[in-house]
């Protein structure tokens, strides 16, 4: 790539590389463990780049989701790192690369690990034997699984900032700003070093390729990678058409438990905290509530606030979430993953996923309120116990929707011969509804809504030819990976920044 700039670029790179306290290696990538001390010096074509990038992303994504299985060949190491110019993508890339590095590092034998560390000149201050004896109990209590035998274990003393992960999990002893990290956790230190160097290397290469943002051949490629791998997005698809503020209550029956709960609590408390406002507000946006209607909805919902108070304290946030204020990010509704993995509800919060964040008795009560029978309840709680929250939600969908249209859950699993499957469109639609795991609250809503419409029209006796056609425009497009992606209407893809600052 960048053939016209080839020599120029290479020079710049080497200059920057040495200026940024990276030493040049004669043997750039001697082991599989690569510390990115230097940006790769090879040139590639745009097509190669896209291929490399996609492959690399696939490795990293697979790694993230498939919990580190076997690694595919890693010929691509060298190519991608130097191409990440986009800030957010760079962050993501950094995280993913660290995960990959960690995986590889831990797979190496101890001997290779030590060799590698020696080569990198990584030295940390060792805790003296005297100190170790003095701190013995505390060190032991801090990492009960890893450092049982404090006397034999080597501990390093580093600034606590360097081992955030251990600090956050309370898995390391800290005193006066120093963390005492056992050898067993050294991978954390190595990783920290790795992250820092990679970040700097990215920075340097980023600057070495100053015109990449504008390179119109590359941007579409990057955007594409970005879209494919940063997760599915969901934007207004409005199966139910443009929704009015006063319709929301009636639509509650199609909502997944998380949203229904937020709705009920909003009605009960006439207020919702920030996390709930974001989760529910964006969901409503996703089902077709316009900004204008959203303002009406929230203002009526916050019945205890005067219109004046509402305008001052909340209207801004509502407009903000519709991309009309501040950074003008057009926020998209949260997916199940982000709700489940996102910030857990704190005291007084109602956001989150009931399958993930409710205690068993409370979840039981919720299910009972929806007439889920004992058998299915146990089934669902079992799934929750095994941490399969979305599958539990899918199961809940099947059980409750089946009752809604008066069938059995199996009908929804695409069972043949059912009265419901007799309509052509209906048959295929039901299959979509069933095989797919719930990935998104808005998907739950849409499936449920359409199911109901279909049911109504089949029940009305084949008179729904027109309706069927509308419904066949499925909102879900399978991608190459067989996953669903949600069409984004208008605007460039943006990586959502949930932080609203106030």
């Amino acid at each position: 790539m960048f053939t016209q700039e080839r020599t120029q670029t290479r020079k710049t790179r080497q200059m920057l590389a040495s200026g940024a306290r990276f030493t040049y290696d004669d043997e750039p990538y001697p082991t599989r463990l690569n510390f990115y001390r230097d940006p790769p010096a090879l040139e590639i074509s745009i097509e190669e780049f896209e291929q490399f990038a996609l492959d690399r992303m696939q490795v990293l994504t697979a790694l993230q989701t498939a919990q580190m299985r076997n690694l595919p060949p890693d010929q691509m190491d060298k190519a991608v790192g130097d191409a990440i110019r986009n800030q957010e993508l760079r962050q993501w890339f950094l995280r993913a690369e660290c995960a990959l590095f960690r995986y590889r590092f831990e797979k190496e034998s101890l001997k290779e690990q030590l060799e590698f560390l020696e080569k990198q000149n990584l030295t940390w201050k060792k805790v003296s034997d005297d100190d170790k004896r003095l701190l013995k109990d505390k060190l032991k209590a801090s990492s009960p699984f890893k450092a049982q035998n404090v006397d034999d274990e080597t501990f390093f003393e580093v600034d606590f900032e360097r081992v955030c992960g251990l600090v956050g999990k309370r898995q390391v002893y800290i005193h006066a700003g120093k963390a005492f990290v056992p050898l067993a956790d050294q991978v954390v230190l190595v990783l920290d070093e790795f992250r820092e160097r990679l970040a700097q290397a990215l920075e340097v290469t980023g600057r070495a390729l100053p015109r990449m943002d504008e390179d119109n051949r590359l941007m579409p490629v990057l955007n594409n990678i970005n879209k494919q791998y940063l997760g599915r997005e969901f934007t207004t698809s409005a199966v139910a058409g443009e929704i009015q503020a006063q319709d929301v209550d009636a639509l509650k029956i199609h909502m997944p438990l998380c949203m229904e709960h937020l709705h009920d609590e909003l009605r009960r408390e006439k207020h919702t905290k920030h996390g709930g406002r974001m989760q529910y507000g964006l969901f409503l946006k996703g089902i077709g509530l316009s900004l204008e209607q959203a303002l009406i909805f929230w203002q009526t919902a916050f019945a205890n606030k005067s219109p004046d108070e509402f305008n001052k304290q909340y209207a801004y946030n509502v407009r903000h979430s519709y991309g009309m204020e501040g950074k003008r990010t057009d926020y998209t509704p949260y997916s199940c993953k982000s709700i489940i993995m996102g910030s857990a509800p704190g005291v007084g919060d109602h956001h989150g996923c009931p399958f993930r964040h409710f205690s068993a008795p409370n979840l039981r009560a919720k299910l009972a309120a929806h007439q889920v029978d004992e058998f299915d309840t146990e089934d669902i709680l079992g799934l929750v116990g095994a941490k399969h929250y979305q599958i539990a939600c899918t199961r809940y969908y099947e059980v409750t929707r089946a009752r809604m249209i008066g069938g059995s859950p199996d009908t929804l699993r695409g069972g043949s011969g059912s009265a419901l499957a007799s309509g052509q469109g209906a048959g295929s639609e039901f299959r979509v509804a069933s095989q797919e795991q719930i990935e998104h609250p808005n998907q739950f809503f849409e499936q449920s809504y359409k199911l109901m419409q279909q049911h109504k029209s089949t029940a009305a006796g084949g008179a729904g030819a027109n309706g069927d056609q509308d419904m066949e425009a499925a909102p879900l497009d399978p991608t190459v990976k067989g996953r669903y992606t949600y069409r984004k209407v208008g605007g460039p893809s943006s990586i959502v920044n949930h932080d609203m600052e106030m």
Binding site: K312, A344, V347, E501
Partner: protein, 461 residues
């Protein structure tokens, strides 16, 4: 101000920084000095706590501008530093609109703006790479927060599910004990574990407390590091729908062992005495719901229903006994039950932090020495050494300060040879400002120390 180049900054000199001649500050028309409070109208106490007029007088005469500026300036030199100039101020006005991203080049500019706007509330935000006022001149991505104090916000509303003496905005000395425990636990953890030295605890004016950590190292933390500290300190997890909110490992981390000792000192008084946790069936049901064993729950329930007035401390013993015998009868229950009493103690006394405030570098937090619009009380610092004695009803209101000032002036007619005092020095605000000054002085001492080291280093070359 003559501390500067000579690098020897003794305590004395730092002391002087606080009694710099303030004549230029008060040379401006001083209605306060001439007019007794009564001449303002009926009397100052009749004015609403957040009346702009009252606030104007407060900002002009009682607000401890000097140490406040020195704090935010983080420098021993009185010349405004980038830390001051690039700091975001946010004002909430009387009609509840707020103006974000304000910034000032000098202390005087800031003072004039305070007098002009008389904000009902001042919030402090982060220090950015450029002046927040110039924000609109650059691309959004080029406006970056670079540092800020590490802050904590603990609010009584988060205790509402376990608090029975008051609710909503009210507090009393009974429930204030929650805040006392919170201060003790968080303070020692931040000092001993993280090595921070400059902590300022501040009464939020109504029902909570804030903590500002001014160490340079704390100000430089990124969001990820802030998050790590918060989750290190956090123990209470889960929303309203979750009964059991604390589940700690068998072996407590040393930091939590220390907290557990502090909790032990307060648990009986909070749970047995002030909050009726074990005297009312509705409340004790919540405790029982935490125990993951139906048998234990049922036996305790029937026992307590038979004698509901049994002494709460005895009921607590019942609970521990019941769990003990359940384990004795079925040893495999040990893992699930053994530490339940300990976790209940944490759930009912351990601090509940507002995580967002701490983990986001650009989050706003109300400044010390604001006046709370609802209670009218000044948000004064709370000295940690005597935090147990703090009474949330004790901080002064503006009318109180006005009265004290009048009384002082009546008793001390102005005389030539008396040193000229600032208004706050004549009132009960004095003690509170002195706590603040100690905090600022500690920070400045570090700054001086660092400058000295740097200059001696450069001399080596």
């Amino acid at each position: 101000m003559d501390i500067d180049t000579n690098n020897k900054t003794s305590d004395d000199e730092l002391d002087h920084m606080f009694d710099m001649d303030d004549s230029n500050v008060f040379r401006a028309d001083n209605p306060w000095a001439r007019a007794p409070v009564e001449s303002l109208g009926a009397s100052a106490s009749d004015l609403a706590a957040d009346s702009p007029l009252l606030l104007k007088l407060f900002y002009q005469h009682f607000f401890p501008m000097k140490p406040y500026f020195q704090w935010l300036n983080y420098d021993i030199s009185p010349t405004p530093s980038r830390t001051f100039m690039n700091r975001e101020f946010c004002f909430t006005l009387h009609d509840e609109t707020y103006i974000r991203f304000q910034s000032y080049k000098t202390m005087d500019e800031f003072r004039q703006e305070l007098a002009r706007l008389c904000p009902a509330k001042i919030d402090l935000g982060a220090i950015y790479n450029i002046r927040p006022k110039d924000k609109s001149m650059v691309r959004p991505a080029a406006f970056i927060p670079v540092s800020k104090e590490l802050v904590f916000d603990i609010d009584m509303t988060d205790y509402d599910e376990i608090r029975t003496c008051c609710s909503g905005g009210d507090v009393c000395t009974k429930c204030w004990e929650f805040m006392t425990v919170a201060m003790k636990i968080i303070d020692v953890a931040l000092r001993d574990d993280f090595g921070f030295k400059h902590l300022l605890w501040v009464y939020s004016g109504r029902r909570g407390i804030h903590c500002w950590i001014g160490d340079e190292r704390a100000r430089k933390l990124n969001n990820e590091q802030r998050k790590a500290i918060v989750s290190y300190l956090e123990v209470i997890k889960g929303g309203t729908q979750q009964g059991r909110k604390v589940k700690l490992p068998n072996t407590l981390h040393p930091s939590l062992s220390r907290s557990y000792d502090i909790i032990g000192q307060h648990f009986p008084s909070i749970v047995f005495d002030s909050q009726d946790v074990l005297t009312e069936p509705d409340n004790w049901e919540k405790v029982l719901a935490i125990i993951p064993d139906d048998g234990v729950q049922a036996s305790l329930r029937s026992e307590w229903e038979k004698s509901p007035t049994r002494d709460p401390s005895k009921k607590w013993e019942d609970l521990k006994d019941a769990i003990g015998s359940a384990i004795a009868a079925a040893p495999k229950k040990r893992q699930a039950l053994e530490h339940v009493p300990r976790d209940i103690m944490f759930q009912y006394t351990y601090p509940r932090l507002d995580e967002k405030v701490s983990t986001n570098i650009n989050h706003l937090l109300k400044s010390p020495f604001c006046v709370h619009p609802k209670t009218g009380r000044v948000c004064v610092p709370i000295p940690i050494e005597t935090c147990e004695e703090f009474d949330p009803k004790s901080p002064p209101t503006i009318p109180m300060l006005a009265k004290e000032l009048d009384e002082y002036d009546a008793k001390h007619p102005p005389s030539e040879n008396e040193p000229k005092l600032q208004a706050w020095q004549k009132t009960s605000l004095r003690g509170h400002v002195e706590v603040f000054e100690r905090f600022v002085k500690g920070i400045l001492r570090d700054v001086a120390e660092k400058k000295k080291m740097e200059s001696s280093k450069s001399l080596d070359f």
